[in-house]
Structures are given as structure tokens and as C-alpha cells.
């Protein structure tokens, strides 16, 4: 059925960031969102909310819901603790009435590079972000150092070509 523009449903779009960056598809994010909404508010609110994942770009995604439900959706998104069995958090960054506004807020380039860091005399492979965050790769990690660090925790830092 074709509706007049004034009779169409109004939506709100939420830009989210997934932390830490994990490879996931839109259906994984949808499942995590739907599970969180249902467990927090029940089926009745979940059916009124109409959540759906519109776009995924790296660790960012845009989620749609009906207007008036965005606060409840934000709460449910904050209550997500795993995505596809991997521990993760979802941070809602911005809410808007159009997808275009949110697309402009997604960083164009991937903000991190591969590299090597030296901690306590040992070298580790790492992912280094522009903001100075360093995530050590799991391989070769010893238990006596933290995995998520910053430049201040390292003795030396080299970027891969």
C-alpha cells in the first residue's frame, strides 16, 4: 500500500561504535540488538520499536528505530555485552532524523595502523590507533603485561610499512 508522505512512519537513526573493533555483519549487530531489547523491555516494546541495522562501516553502524523509541533503543544498545559470542560494547554516538547526517560523522579512513611495540624488553605485534591507543595482538602475549595500552606504557614503537 502506498501512503501519503504525511502518513508514513517517522524514524530516528542512531550512529553506534563497536568496541573493540571486531569483524561483524549487520545481522550479528541486529541479533545482539534484538536480544538486548527483548531481554530489557520484553516483546511488546520490541515490536513497537522496529529496530533494524541500515549500514555497517568498519566498527561503526547506523541503526534505525521508530521515532519516540530512540531513548529506549539507546538503553538497550548500552546493555549489549556480546556480539556473536565475542565480548563487545556498543556506544551510541549520535541520533539523527536522517541517515545522511550520520554518514557524514563516520570517519572516512581507518584510524589505525599495524606496528610493533617494545614492553619490558620484549617486542609485540600491535594495532596502533591515531589517538595513541595500542591493542596488542593476542599471539605471543605474556600474562605479566596488559593488552590494551597507550604510548606511555611502551618503551619503543615502530610502524609496519
Amino acid at each position: 500500500m502506498r501512503l501519503r508522505p504525511s502518513m508514513r512512519e517517522n524514524f530516528r537513526y542512531i550512529l553506534i561504535e563497536i568496541v573493540p573493533e571486531i569483524s561483524c555483519e549487520s545481522r550479528d549487530i541486529y541479533r545482539a540488538t534484538a536480544e538486548s531489547v527483548t531481554s530489557l523491555y520484553g516483546d511488546s516494546i520490541a515490536s513497537l520499536m522496529w529496530p533494524s541495522v541500515m549500514q555497517v562501516a568498519g566498527s561503526y553502524a547506523i541503526i534505525r528505530c521508530r521515532r519516540g523509541m530512540e531513548k529506549k533503543l539507546e538503553t538497550a544498545l548500552a546493555a549489549i555485552n556480546t556480539i556473536q559470542g565475542t565480548p563487545a560494547a556498543v556506544h551510541s554516538l549520535k541520533t539523527s532524523g536522517t541517515i545522511k547526517t550520520l554518514q557524514e560523522s563516520i570517519p572516512k579512513e581507518r584510524g589505525f595502523r599495524q606496528g610493533r611495540v617494545v614492553i619490558a624488553g620484549k617486542t609485540y605485534d600491535a594495532v596502533i590507533s591515531r589517538r595513541g591507543r595500542i591493542d596488542l595482538k593476542e599471539k605471543g602475549i605474556y600474562l605479566d603485561i596488559p593488552r590494551y595500552i597507550t604510548e606511555e606504557d611502551t618503551e619503543d614503537l615502530n610502524y609496519d610499512e
Binding site: 568496541v19 573493540p20 531481554s39 530489557l40 531513548k71 539507546e74 538503553t75 548500552a78 546493555a79 549489549i80 555485552n81 565480548p87 563487545a88 560494547a89 556506544h91 551510541s92 589517538r131 595513541g132 591507543r133 595500542i134 603485561i145 596488559p146 593488552r147 590494551y148 595500552i149 597507550t150 606511555e152 606504557d153
Partner: protein, 213 residues
């Protein structure tokens, strides 16, 4: 307005260094945080960092001794709540700033008398966002019910509240807005929640009511 995360647990409690916590919290919109455990002092952090000692499973008679030890090395002292008797003793002990893990206390573990004492002595009650995120079904319902009781008592006695993430990993961190959203499941008063995010600094410098001598 200042937003402080009431409790984060850096390495060795988790896999995140204290400087990384400070940077991530700044990016999330916090203006400071309280770190429990071993925190290196020589590092210059991105946000003001208060250190705290987190006392768990401690006998009431040993409280004063442990607090005396902590006061020299840390800015704040956090004590894990227990049964009603323990909580009353803990709140009345000088040097304790925050009572944590109140959601795990037995029934009537934190009653109106404890609330009154906490208000009189300026001891804050710490509410963690982590059980709201990590638990599901009946376990989460129990926590929500417990938090509701605490908010009701807070409304009556006006003791200070501290909201915290109790994060030991980076995915446990929540932004101030997310914390307010999650606690709005329990409490409708967003102004109270917002002010509770800045209570830590007041608890640290708390001076009792003015008394006529």
C-alpha cells in the same frame, strides 16, 4: 558539570593499563575517574585520576587498621558491603568514603538505618552499571529491584550516590549518557543521576555539618 567514573579496575584486575583507561574515559566524555588497585603515579594521565583502595571480605574488627594503612597511599577507601551489621559498622568507621556492591547484600542488608548513617557521615553508596549489563533475566531483575530500594532510601535520606562502571576491560566502559540511560531504568530523576556522576570529588572533601561548639 564534572563527570567521574566512580570505579575502574586497571591491570592486573583486567587487561587494560591505567593510562589506557584514562584516555578512553576522556574520549567517552568523563572529566575524571577513580582507579582501584595499583596505579602507577609517575604517568601523567589525560584526566584527573583519584586512587582508591578496594577492601573486600574484610572482618569488621580489622576495618580501622586497614583504613589507616590505606589512607597513606590512596585518596579514597571503598568497602564491599556485607550484611546489615557489617554495613552499619563500616559506615560508622572513620575514613571510609564509599560502600560498594550493595546489590549483593542479603535482604535488608542496606536498610533505612544504614541510609540515615550514610547521610549523616557523608559515606557514598556506589551503584555499578556492570550487573545491569552483564546479568540477564531474574538476576538482573533482582539487581534492578535492589537499586530501586536504594533510590527510594536516597530520596528520603539524601545520602551521596556514586555511579560507576566497575570496568576491568575496555568493553565494560560506558559513557556518562549511557550510564544515565541505564540507571533511568530504575530512577526517573535524570538530574539526580547526572549529579551523582560528580559526587566522588565531594565525598573526598566531605566535611560534616556545621555544629555549634
Amino acid at each position: 558539570m564534572q563527570f567521574f567514573d566512580g570505579c575502574v579496575l586497571p591491570y592486573p584486575s583486567g587487561q587494560v593499563s591505567s593510562s589506557r583507561f584514562a584516555r578512553d574515559l576522556q574520549n567517552l566524555g568523563f572529566s575524571g575517574c577513580v582507579m582501584c588497585g595499583t596505579v602507577p603515579e609517575e604517568i601523567l594521565y589525560d584526566v584527573p585520576v583519584l586512587t582508591a583502595r578496594y577492601l573486600t571480605d574484610i572482618q569488621p574488627r580489622l576495618l580501622s587498621r586497614e583504613i589507616g594503612r590505606s589512607a597513606m597511599e590512596h585518596d579514597l577507601v571503598y568497602v564491599q558491603a556485607g550484611d546489615a551489621g557489617f554495613n552499619r559498622t563500616a559506615i560508622q568507621t572513620t575514613g571510609i568514603h564509599v560502600l560498594t556492591d550493595v546489590q549483593n547484600t542479603p535482604k535488608d542488608g542496606f536498610d533505612r538505618y544504614c541510609a540515615q548513617l550514610a547521610a549523616e557521615r557523608g559515606v557514598a553508596i556506589d551503584l555499578s552499571v556492570r550487573p545491569l549489563v552483564e546479568l540477564r533475566d531474574v538476576a538482573r531483575q533482582k539487581v534492578i529491584r535492589k537499586y530501586e530500594e536504594i533510590f527510594t532510601l536516597q530520596n528520603r535520606y539524601e545520602f551521596p550516590l556514586v555511579l560507576s562502571s566497575h570496568a576491568s576491560e575496555i568493553w565494560h566502559l560506558k559513557s556518562p549518557r549511557e550510564m544515565i540511560r541505564l540507571f533511568s531504568l530504575v530512577c526517573d530523576d535524570e538530574d539526580l543521576l547526572r549529579s551523582s556522576l560528580g559526587t566522588v570529588s565531594q565525598v573526598k572533601n566531605w566535611v560534616g555539618p556545621v555544629r555549634e561548639v
